[in-house]
Subunit: 332 residues, 2 copies
Amino acid sequence: MSNIRKVAELAGVSVATVSRTLKSPDIVSPRTRARVLAAVSEADYKPNLMAVQFRSRRTRNLVVLVPTISNTFFARVIGGIQQAAQQQGYSVLLCNTLGREDAERGYASMVTTRQADGVIQLRAYNPFAADAYADTALPMVNACEVLDSPPCPTVKLDNRAAARTLTEHLIDLGHRRIGMIKGPRRSPLTRDRVAGYCDALEAAGIALDERLLCPGDFTPHSGFNAAGMLLACDGRPSAIFCESDEMAIGAIKRVKQAGLSVPGDISVAGFDDITFASFSDPPLTTIAQPAEAFGRQAVSLLIDTLEGRCESPRHVILPFELVVRGSTGSKP
Amino acid sequence: MSNIRKVAELAGVSVATVSRTLKSPDIVSPRTRARVLAAVSEADYKPNLMAVQFRSRRTRNLVVLVPTISNTFFARVIGGIQQAAQQQGYSVLLCNTLGREDAERGYASMVTTRQADGVIQLRAYNPFAADAYADTALPMVNACEVLDSPPCPTVKLDNRAAARTLTEHLIDLGHRRIGMIKGPRRSPLTRDRVAGYCDALEAAGIALDERLLCPGDFTPHSGFNAAGMLLACDGRPSAIFCESDEMAIGAIKRVKQAGLSVPGDISVAGFDDITFASFSDPPLTTIAQPAEAFGRQAVSLLIDTLEGRCESPRHVILPFELVVRGSTGSKP
DNA sequence: TTGTAAGCGTTATCAC
DNA sequence: GTGATAACGCTTACAA
């Protein structure tokens, strides 16, 4: 493998001149520059980034922690992250954590061991040891999910308003008993969405029935199971609001399996607007989020933090949109 | 940030001793070891991996190039990769290429610039410059898709046999006009599967009708469109074999939209057995692949290549399984 | 404008 | 068993 020394020999200059030619071509004389560039291409020289990074003490790598990459919503967020990172000269190291905290910690430690400069988290969990960054800014940004503590820059949806909007849509269709398939209990995101759901009920004068709130884990299977619970419950709901499209797809399967029709007997709504939402039968009513924008904003926030430019807003709220398709209809 | 020198001072030993204590604890005296370890924890010392990698000239990072991470089949392959890599002390840098060759090249160049040791490709494309590794083994392994040239270790399915099995299943159900929604034309994977489809037709004495072969790009949308072509074709098929579950889900939507039932009027089969396959309505008949095994095998093959242990098999063929669900039925 | 040389943090090779 | 030191490939004062 050719290194800078070989190129220097080949061009008959010092290694410093080679380095300068490549970093700031305008400060070397045209003649030298030409000779060096010729030598570079003759030797097919590629700077050893391991050495460059080692010397400059930064990697320009960003770690992205994703709970499940096989969700098209997250995939779109990641697309936005990769695009923005590339534009700003950063690489992305993607980690599919599958919710395993040890995996998250392992990847986050790439920052403490200097393999990456910062972390973008798509889940509410702090992968760093409690006291590691007590004095300095945590090199981390949260997107999609919010993190209560420690405080770090965040880009999120107004989940409470979105959940309220979706619930109001169901109420407008005449539904009074509306089930909700939530995310995991301790998730701040779920907390906000449940609050929005409650807001809508209260505004419509509908009493909250705790039995209509079932927890899930965002997978189709959990949606399927939770829908089974709701169907079995005494005074079953005529509509179900799922906190993710994947759970909604599972819920629809369960409802059909019970011999009921969607939305004829029961309306089902989702959240995220994944690709399969419009291929579901019936197509899903859902909340669309600007996924790519999540990614781009997260990258900006993180790079601002890393490079000490913190005048930018620390919290970004992105807009949502209610997408009405065929899975919701008037109360029978 | 604390470095090895600080720890050495703190423990009153040389940096060499600190390094030895951490790398091979048994060659330092118990007393020294205890002192050093105390200093390590007091200073909260973490070795700077950038320096370690620089010195050892290996990163123990593997780049994984995935066409679309939002496919649950690929997500499972990646799960297998991450698990195997971690066991062998490697980290995974995941790249969602979205089919963009510049992105693939960009990530593959992490190998030439020494940011990673090797590449696992889940697509048939050589991201390295033509002549870069003329003499030495390409630090790359192909999984799922095969690559015709240059030759590199591969882990794949017997796609021809799998396609033949699936086609025979449809023939056994009485179908004679069987449409096929293929992948991109130039894909070796598609070539093999089309060959298996032809094998089955030929064995059953059914003439090949080129009009029943429609290309797609593995997305639900392309399946939807291709199914539209097949429905419009003169002498429309009574069964459609899709080269991916995602396309099958799109095809089912299109068939239903035409007022036809699946499998009542038209049977539809997929390939991959993604999560949504069993949540589709009707649930998909498909070919299940041992996704995690693909990942694990690819990692073994790559690490064998990187570490010069090449006695292991260069090509691994994994088994498939026909999963019959509700989307295929007897010819009406 | 160019060359010399120090230094980034670690590990390996020598001595002792 | 331990310490001094060179080396990895690059960048950047500083000197010429």
